[in-house]
């Protein structure tokens, strides 16, 4: 197939708790790594998609002395933005506006201050200031734990089911040389002893905070010659819950943006959840994995907990989830690391954690107060 767009290059820095470098420096390291991986020159980049609150296109153009930039945008969906960015990149390429689009995430998420101390990036800040922060409700763990509580009340959910998500992520990370938690395996016993953060979330329900950067290059599928197998962006969908700027008065806390996003992506892909050989799920917390597996249609509503506890999400299971370790155990790179892992798996470059001959892999994004995105990636032979 000659149409569409592929991920032609992927790049990353080391993932640590203290990079000792600026976010901009990290971004440029990942960008150069991705451009090298795509076998391109820096000058070939003519489109840039950034995170709204990180390094800007202007800084990247200046730092690399790019001769032209024909396309730029920033996607306001929090952590779902990395996956949603794929849609913008495909559109820029298919319309002919740009040829090679860079997507970047860089953060000093560990050394740059705790999450409650960093400027909030969520929408409708005056609601947060007026109605939420005064009561001590100001972090993702505190917000999303309330969604988890509703789910527990509605469907039931055990600590062991949540723990299965964390332990699986950790097990996968032990097979990933780049993982921040490599060498620190998590047992169920340790998981269960984790101190409470925001009940029902405990220490090990929460993802890592990470210093590092990721970058990818998206290119027209017909222009790709550098490697025998290209990873194509087959379809993308994005979606939002009702009242995406406010969690507290949303009619149903369990209805998240990923459900409409996934429905769009499956329809556009002509494929369904059952066709996926693996899925990378935006795992800011353990329950968000269970919730998204259900919202995207991988498992029936209310059945995600048992599905995870029965080992189906492990490598070798029916649906390997987050084979890199995810945000829980590889590192928090805002979900662009999930895209990179899907690319590596489809190229057959995932080493000890390789899924046998995968044909289709889905990637989900979750962000802000419940926005969602889903991408379906597959492979295309260079022609």
């Amino acid at each position: 197939m000659s149409g569409g767009a592929i991920v032609s290059g992927v790049g990353q820095t080391d993932y640590t708790r203290n990079s000792g470098r600026t976010e901009a420096r990290l971004a440029f390291e990942a960008i150069l790594d991705a451009i090298r991986d795509a076998a391109m020159d820096v000058d070939d980049v003519d489109g840039i998609i950034t995170h709204p609150f990180s390094i800007s296109p202007e800084e990247i153009v200046s730092g690399l002395r790019l001769p032209r930039l024909n396309f730029n945008c920033a996607v306001h969906m929090g952590g779902a933005g990395a996956v949603a960015s794929l849609q913008h990149a495909v559109q820029a390429i298919e319309s002919g506006v740009a040829s090679n689009v860079l997507i970047v995430r860089a953060r000093n998420g560990a050394s740059g201050g705790r999450i409650n101390e960093r400027p909030s990036q969520q929408p409708a800040q005056h609601f947060r200031d007026q109605l939420e922060r005064p009561y001590g409700w100001n972090t993702p763990a505190q917000r999303y734990s309330m969604i988890c509580r509703r789910y527990q009340h509605t469907f039931g959910l055990t600590r062991e089911q949540l723990g299965a998500v964390a332990v699986s992520a950790s097990r996968h990370a032990q097979l990933n040389p780049a993982a921040q938690n490599l060498g620190h395996p998590l047992t169920m016993e340790t998981y269960l002893s984790g101190r409470t953060i925001a009940d029902p979330y405990t220490r090990f329900d929460c993802c890592l905070e990470t210093d590092g950067a990721c970058a990818i290059v998206v290119t027209g599928a017909d222009r790709h010659r550098s490697r025998p197998v290209g990873v194509r962006i087959r379809a993308v969908g994005e979606g939002r819950p009702e009242s995406p700027d406010d969690l507290t008065n949303r009619p149903d806390l369990l209805k998240i943006g990923l459900a409409p996003a996934a429905a769009l992506a499956w329809e556009r892909a002509g494929l369904g959840p059952g066709d996926m050989n693996a899925v990378m799920v935006y795992d800011c917390f353990t329950f968000e994995v269970i919730h998204q597996l259900e919202a995207a249609g991988f498992v029936a509503e209310g059945k995600g907990g048992p599905f995870c506890a029965e080992g189906h999400i492990d490598l070798g299971g029916r649906l390997p989830v987050n084979t890199h370790g995810g945000l829980l155990a590889e590192g928090h790179l805002s979900g662009l690391n999930h895209v990179i892992e899907a690319v590596r798996q489809l190229r057959g470059e995932a080493g000890d954690r390789q899924v046998p001959s995968p044909r289709h892999i889905a990637v989900t994004g979750w962000g802000d107060l419940g926005d969602g995105a889903l991408a379906v990636l597959d492979t295309v032979r260079a022609g």
Binding site: H126, R150, A198, N249
Partner: protein, 142 residues
């Protein structure tokens, strides 16, 4: 930096804080279609009217969900404390966030009756927290 407190003079919220200081729960309603508009927005999501009015409502409701915070994230607000969402009894499509006070965590359950407690915390500023309410007769004698 101390505990973050709301600006009680914020034009979109001032009546709410004035009401709380007087021991009343005031919410925004659409003047055109009469529906509650909460949290306050400049436009009614149902009828696109810009007109609004503040009305006092019965400060009782039911617990919709909650979290028990044990890891400190707010200066001058040491855990443990419980934050919950309360569905307003007479307007079940409206929820208020507040601390759930004077209720033992083990007693908390979704759907339990709550009543607002107006807690003065600073000059002119009264926060709206929630505590357990007496069950009505229907519930007491099921």
């Amino acid at each position: 930096m101390t505990r973050p407190l709301p600006d009680i003079d914020d034009p979109e919220f001032a009546p709410f804080w004035a009401g709380a200081a007087a021991g009343e729960l005031l919410l925004v309603f659409c003047s055109s279609c009469d529906r509650p508009r909460w949290p306050p927005r400049p436009i009614c999501a149902h009828c696109q009217s810009f007109e609004l009015e503040w009305r006092a409502v019965d400060a009782r409701g039911r617990l919709y969900t909650w979290t028990g915070v044990e890891h400190q994230t707010t200066r001058d607000l040491p855990p443990p404390y419980v934050v919950g969402l309360v569905e307003i009894a007479d307007h079940p499509d409206v929820r208020l966030l507040g601390q759930i006070v004077d209720v033992a965590p083990g007693v908390l359950r979704i759907g339990m009756p709550m009543v607002a407690r107006f807690d003065a915390v600073a000059d002119g500023l009264t926060l709206v927290n929630w505590t357990g309410a007496e069950m009505d007769s229907e519930e007491a004698n099921p």
